[in-house]
């Protein structure tokens, strides 16, 4: 070889790139042309100002009211919905996790079905689930708990099954060699390996569920969302301000605690 030829960019690649650009441009033109921009409402500026001033001067009196229906109780309600919903899903997703794990079920079809069911549950929005549960158990926190409990199975089941797929088979073989029964193998060889991951993922999902629980009230499924949407509808911006502050504070504190616990567990 006398001289090394300069590498030429493959032509096909460039063609692909250009067709992607054209496709993207077409999508954007289509999307932008479909959005009705009939100009902002004239009141938009005023309302923005009102909201900002409301958030900057929150209604501190709402934090605690002796007769009930105050911020603290709403936040506690939200927290309770998130805790119970997470617990239910962490409990219910265990069989799904083993079902969807490649190394636990025999045959690819079984694990594939399990994975499909989990992704189906995952794509079903929790708010729609809450709407349906409201029809079943009536409006209130319980509908929110059930919705979160069912929806979270999708994500937790997927994460748990990945955890189960990554276990080390050494301890299982060792226990089988000593003549342990199936249940004993499960308890002493599988469970200790997956517990840290389970706890960490459950806490992570709890953080997500707390955010979801704070909006479930918008459709009547309990928690702080209900007073929030009422305050918005009656344009009581200082009350909206204090509720927003309350949600932000609660979510931040829970995130910090849960993050600390997750670091400790794993």
């Amino acid at each position: 070889m006398k001289s090394v030829a300069r590498p030429v960019k493959p032509k096909k690649n460039r063609f692909m790139l250009w067709s992607i650009y054209v496709l993207l441009a077409a999508i954007y033109i289509w999307a932008l042309s479909g959005i009705p921009i009939e100009g902002f409402k004239e009141t938009a500026g005023q309302i923005t100002k009102a909201i900002l001033s409301g958030i900057l001067s929150p209604d501190w009196g709402y934090v605690y009211l002796p007769e009930g229906e105050d911020l603290l109780r709403g936040l506690l309600d939200t927290l309770a919905i998130a805790i119970l919903g997470t617990f239910i899903s962490a409990f219910l997703c265990i069989p799904f996790a083993f079902w969807a794990a490649n190394n636990m079920t025999k045959g690819k079809i079984a694990a594939g079905t399990g994975k499909f069911i989990l992704s189906f549950i995952r794509t079903f929005p929790e708010l729609v689930m809450a709407l349906l549960f409201i029809k079943v158990v009536g409006p209130g926190s319980f509908a929110g708990v059930l919705a979160l409990g069912l929806h979270s199975i999708g994500m937790l089941g997927k994460l748990f099954s990945e955890e189960v797929e990554n276990i080390d088979f050494g301890p299982i073989e060792a226990l089988k060699a000593t003549g342990a029964s199936g249940l004993q193998t499960l308890w002493f060889a599988v469970v200790p390996q997956i517990i840290p991951g389970f706890i960490s993922y459950t806490l992570y999902r709890f953080e997500i569920n707390l955010r979801s629980a704070s909006i479930l009230g918008i459709i009547g499924a309990g928690g702080i969302g209900t007073p929030l949407i009422f305050a918005m509808q009656s344009r009581d911006w200082s009350r909206v301000g204090i509720i927003l502050l309350g949600i932000i504070a609660m979510v931040t504190i829970v995130d910090i605690i849960s993050g600390y616990l997750r670091k400790k567990v794993v």
Partner: protein
Amino acid sequence: MKRIESLNMNRLTKQEIPKAPTKIKHYLTTALIVLLIGWSAYQTESSFIDFVEGFPNMFDLLVQMYPPSWSYFDDIVPAMLDTFRMAVIGTTMGALLAVPFALLCASNIAASNWIYYPFRFILNLIRTIPELLLAAIFVAIFGLGPLPGIFALAVFSMGIIAKLTYEAMESIDKGPLEAMTAVGANKIQWIVYSVVPQVSPYFVSFVLYTFEINIRAAAILGLVGAGGIGEYYDKTLGFLEYDKVSTIIIFTLMVVLLIDYISTKLREKLL
């Protein structure tokens, strides 16, 4: 003689068996969790009996949802296209906003912690607000329609994309950065030629991932009046037209799964 030996053995084994660690911590943790769950059940007035009593209702609901009203598809296609539009524009706006934010949050680019700590704090605050809440606020400002939905999605996706991107920026290779400094590049050249090429595949992947999330979010934003297919839940549930509700649900699921599939394939190609 034998007895002495066995005695010795006993002593030996006794010494070798390590003491089991105390389990008090585990018991306390379990007790705490049980207490928390009990309190939550009390606070939310959850009862198993209610659930069992409500079970026939659920069955009724499922019966009423079947069969889905296929003719309703034609009515909701425009709303679904609106949802798609909202997600596309919202994600793009969020991605554009996220670029400067991510640059200001990354500790190896915004060199002073007087810059990146405050911006990270703002970012964390933004990410604590759920997208539906943002949508409700924007609906109050701009009125009903897809516009507040787009703004809500833009703010929401900016939070996600900026966080993921600044974390990716912090883990890039230092070599090109130092090389650019050594040849005397100014700050903008430095970013364009050493940071952007390393981060851009990740950035595109994060944008696609956020787009998947936004399609799901956009499908429910209509519940607070922010446009898209979500508005139809209210309309149909209010009139107890459950067959139409199941049509909406099935349609949404199909679109979400399709977009997830395409986006996952694209992301696999990118990284």
